[in-house]
């Protein structure tokens, strides 16, 4: 039982500890597990950074900033999120269009926007939260399971930003954003047979997608099936990451002892491929421990979703929880060679601030919905 359940069972004004936590609108269990993941991640990151203290300190500060965002987001009344969802969504679309028009080009893709007075940022990052919120907002006062028309509108809400991001091109992010929106649709109770039809249609459209993919994207998919076809090129990353993971064995080579990562064979060892460092240095044991923490986050968040009183809250909390898990799954599946390489960091462990802030914001929204029971 969580503190909140305990508090809820009491008349208002009793249970000092619970009341205090309720008043600051946080979920202690979820927060504790998130902190555990971040702590675990920092230890591994410290190793992956070759014990570079200054870079490490920078990451600690970023995570503290992300925590602050969580706390602040959790204090806001959920009705604010409901009210602002469509506007943020529309603003996000505008920014995505702006990116295509005047964004900075890096490595052949336009992803960054450099607006005067604002730090450089990726508008697609906003959409990771904004899209599920917008779909949930749309479905909030509709009859559920959604009618075909409502489903189509929902899919349109998802499709526009997905398309805009896909042509940047940033296939990985667009798929994740589509996933976040589709999680809302799935949770809304859409009929299974429609889902089945959609899956069949998607499979039928796969060749079409393949034909429209860029060469480097095709390369990544082909590499998945046979990394040895270009061992020093596109296959390098996946060969080195599977080698790092496999050579860790059950108990790992020991913290700071990973040869693949410390001798620079493992690329992106601090960012997207950090799970390989976990696997190499801490072994299967370390990976299972981290997976369990992620599973607890998912379980707790889904439970919180079922506890929500309103459609919007349920859909938002559930969808954000599932999105979080999808990130975990896609990242680990990619690094271990089950999925093509797409740029997805491991939540709360990979080096970097933007992704952590977005994630903590989403957890803040989830806690806000969960703890503001008066609505």
């Amino acid at each position: 039982m969580t503190n909140y359940d305990f508090v809820r069972s009491l008349p208002t004004g009793q249970g000092l500890r619970g009341r205090r936590l309720t008043r600051i609108h946080l979920d202690p269990l979820l927060l504790a597990v998130l902190l555990a993941i971040m702590g675990f991640g920092l230890v591994v990151l410290y190793s992956a950074l070759d014990r570079n203290v200054s870079v490490f300190t920078g990451q600690v500060l970023r995570l503290l900033a992300a925590l602050t965002v969580l706390v602040v987001a959790a204090q806001l009344d959920p009705r604010i999120y409901l009210r602002w969802s469509p506007f943020v969504y529309v603003a996000g679309i505008v920014l995505l269009v702006l990116v295509l028009v005047m964004g900075d080009t890096a490595k052949g893709a336009k992803r960054w926007l450099d607006l005067p007075g604002l730090p450089r940022f990726q508008p697609s990052e906003i959409m990771k939260i904004s899209v599920p919120l917008a779909v949930a907002w749309y479905l909030n006062d509709r009859a559920l399971p959604p009618s075909l028309k409502d489903l189509m509108v929902s899919l349109a809400i998802i499709g526009v930003p997905t398309g805009l991001i896909a042509i940047q091109p940033d296939l990985g992010t667009s798929i994740l954003i589509a996933g976040a929106g589709l999680a809302v649709v799935a949770l809304s109770g859409v009929y299974w047979r429609w889902i089945a039809v959609a899956v069949v249609a998607a499979m039928a459209a796969a060749p079409l997608l393949w034909m429209n993919m860029r060469d480097y994207q095709k390369e990544r998919v082909l590499t998945l099936f046979d990394a040895e076809r270009d061992p020093l090129g596109s296959g390098w990353n996946i060969i080195q990451s599977t080698t790092a993971i496999g050579s860790g064995g059950v108990f790992g080579k020991g913290l700071f002892q990973g040869t693949q990562s410390h001798l620079d064979f493992l690329p992106e060892s601090q960012t997207d491929f950090i799970i390989a460092v976990v696997a190499e240095e801490l072994g299967l044991v370390g990976v299972v421990f981290l997976l369990l923490l992620y599973l607890v986050v998912l379980a707790r968040a889904l439970y919180m979703a079922t506890e929500a009183r309103h459609t919007f809250g349920r859909l938002v909390v559930g969808a954000l929880a599932l999105t979080f898990f999808v990130y975990v799954f896609v990242n680990i599946a990619m690094v271990s060679g089950l999925l093509p390489v797409v740029g997805v960091p491991l939540p709360l462990v990979s080096y970097g601030g933007t992704a952590a802030i977005t994630l903590m914001a989403s957890f803040g929204i989830m806690m806000s919905i969960h703890t503001h029971r008066g609505w």
């Binding site: 949770l187 050579s247 997976l291 599973l295 079922t306």
Partner: protein, 629 residues
């Protein structure tokens, strides 16, 4: 926000949401199990495979070149050793703009165009990342200092110490010991790629070539941990290279120096052999070259000079110079005549200065022939024919010997073959036979060919090494020895066992041998006896000899002289003049040294070559006297 009234059933919706959540959670669990299964596959099932792969990634075996075996002369003097040189190398991955760095380096270090060309070839070859590529071998101290000062602005420029071959005697022993050269592309295709993985130089000539396997040693390894960029992070283990065998040669550097000095600035060769063993005591070929230049590199001009000079300094005359042996062949013809029953020591002829084959007009002249008919040695027996070097006697003798029996006998002395054990570069010369002549010239063997062969002319060609071997065989009174460079080694050598010694000369009695040696002693010592009575070399070397020398002079024609014309040295180009030979061994009764001297285009053998031979014999037999001189 107000709930819309129509058809919104909150409670059913809530239940449906819970069901969906559970279903999706289950799906997530499946996802977790997929990931777990994958991890177990990688980390447990295939652990060995990936663990090995990870080690292969980081652990590299770097080959270590073995130090090349040392070469000593018979007195224990080092004639080939290894010394450290400083090499300028570039790491292509670190230098950035190669052309700019090369231009910068040219200011600090003398770099020839040849260095640059060779470097560009090397850098284009496949190699390990971050492997340094040599640009210039042998930096001077001043260059090392200049590079050290400028190091900060020259990333990727490395100065490395390396052991390379060094020949302390330089030019003096170049043709005797041979030398190494940088391993070439062609070498790489036939060499053991493992043993030679770190080796820069390979024996290309002489002893260095023949004993390459033993001198090379065995490659060692350094196990290092490298990072993904190929840089060494730490050394894990070292398996040292095993140095090559040290070998000792029969060669006597002091004698070599004496022979070189005796030859002076003239072109030619001296080969001295210890008759009992066949061990080569000295092998001079002049002009020579400094073999160290090939190790440390030389300018394009120097190289062109060496390869195109008319006097051919790179050419080993002692082994590969093929010359008509001229009169030095006469002792062998004499033995052939005795063995084949064509003559005896008692038989005499009248030498009028020329010889005619029965029924032919062509005149075969003695060296003493004159137009007026006053030449010739008078009444000549075999002994006199040798010490006076009578052409007429040997023309007549050779004309009466069946050619096949004659050449078969001669072949026992090593003519037309390379008897040497460890000088595979040596030329076999040419012993003409009817079969050879038919094949090479498409002509039959004429009686005149016998006549020419009788005085070591015609098509007969021999190298100084071959004639030194003949001298050894006569010194040994018929025991044939194979010339050899190697005296001993510190360990058993890897090269195959030497071929067995050939059989002793057949058909010559001990008495014949002694009388032949006596006749050859007369060549040097018979003197003060009046006109046409002294040995041909007596006047030049025999008057003050403190020990007995057996010798034979030879003067080999380079160009044919037309019938009825006199040889006039002044009318000929230097390179068309006669070659001077002298073959000798001493002391005559218990020979310790046999030798041959060749002076290219030097003129008369007794006058030109014999004094050289005397100087070398003195140096070997009377070292104290020579030293006090």
């Amino acid at each position: 926000m107000a709930e819309s009234a129509h058809l919104k059933d909150s409670e059913a919706e809530r239940r449906r949401f819970t069901t969906r959540s559970i279903a999706l959670f289950m799906a997530a669990l499946v996802g977790i199990f997929v990931l777990l299964a994958r991890m177990i596959q990688l980390q447990v099932v295939d652990y060995q495979k990936y663990s090995t792969r990870s080690d292969e990634n980081r652990i590299q075996m770097q080959p270590l070149a073995p130090p090349r075996g040392l070469i000593f002369d018979r007195n224990g003097e080092l004639v080939a050793d290894n010394r450290p040189v400083f090499i300028l190398e570039l790491v292509a991955e670190q230098v950035g703009d190669l052309d700019r760095v090369l231009a910068d380096l040219k200011v600090l270090v003398e770099i020839s165009d040849r260095d640059t060309d060779a470097f560009r070839k090397r850098i284009a070859r496949p190699r390990r990342p971050f492997e340094p590529v040599p640009l210039k071998y042998v930096l001077t101290d001043a260059e090392i200092a200049r590079l050290a000062i400028n190091r900060f602005r020259l990333p990727g420029v490395v100065v490395e110490a390396q052991l390379v071959r060094h020949y302390p005697y330089g030019e003096l022993l170049a043709h005797a010991v041979g030398s190494v050269r940088r391993v070439s592309e062609e070498d790489l295709q036939r060499l053991d790629p493992v043993q030679y993985s770190a080796t820069q130089f390979i024996g290309k000539l002489g002893v260095e070539r023949f004993y390459e396997r033993s001198l090379h040693g065995e490659v060692g390894y350094r196990h290092v941990e490298i990072d993904a960029r190929g840089r060494v992070r730490s050394v894990l283990a070292v398996q040292p290279a095993i140095a090559g065998h040290n070998i000792t040669l029969h060669l006597d550097a002091n004698l070599q120096r004496a022979a070189d000095h005796a030859l002076g600035e003239r072109r030619g060769a001296v080969v001295a052999i210890e008759p009992q063993t066949g061990g080569i005591l000295a092998m001079v070929s002049r002009p020579g070259y400094d073999p160290n230049q090939f190790v440390t590199g030389m300018s394009a001009d120097d190289y062109r000079q060496l390869t195109t000079a008319r006097e051919k300094p790179l050419f080993n005359r002692a082994l590969n110079g093929r010359y008509a042996p001229g009169s030095t062949f006469k002792p062998v013809v004499a033995l052939a005549g005795l063995a084949l029953g064509a003559t005896t020591w008692e038989r005499t002829i009248v030498d009028n200065g020329s010889f005619r084959l029965p029924g032919q007009g062509r005149l075969y002249r003695d060296w003493s022939w004159t137009r007026g008919g006053g030449g010739g040695q008078g009444i000549v027996d075999l002994r006199r024919a040798i010490y006076r070097s009578s052409n007429t006697y040997f023309y007549e003798l050779a004309s009466r010997m069946p050619i096949d029996d004659f050449t078969t006998f001669v072949a026992q002395f090593g003519y037309g073959q390379n008897l040497a054990i460890d000088l595979i570069d040596a030329s076999p010369g040419l012993l003409p036979t009817p079969v050879w002549k038919r094949g090479a010239r498409g002509e039959p063997w004429y009686p005149g060919d016998n006549v020419n062969l009788g005085i070591g002319q015609g098509d007969l060609l021999a190298t100084p090494l071959q004639l030194a071997t003949v001298a050894s065989i006569i010194a040994n009174r018929g025991k044939v020895v194979r010339p050899r460079m190697l005296k001993s080694s510190d360990r058993e050598l890897l090269e195959t066992d030497p071929p067995p010694a050939p059989a002793a000369i057949q058909g010559v009695t001990p008495d014949d041998w002694e009388r032949l040696v006596d006749a050859m002693e007369d060549v040097v010592h018979r003197g003060n006896l009046g006109y046409r009575q002294s040995g041909t070399a007596w006047a030049y070397i025999g008057q003050n000899a403190p020990y007995r020398i057996a010798g034979k002079s030879g003067t080999a024609q380079v160009v044919g002289i037309a019938q009825g014309e006199l040889y006039d040295e002044k009318l000929l180009d230097e390179y068309q003049r006669k070659h001077a030979w002298f073959m000798a061994f001493a002391p005559a009764d218990a020979p310790r040294i046999a030798l041959v001297v060749l002076v290219e285009n030097g003129g008369g053998g007794s006058a030109v070559a014999a004094p050289v031979a005397r100087e070398v014999l003195d140096a070997y037999l009377l070292p104290q006297a020579v030293a006090s001189r």
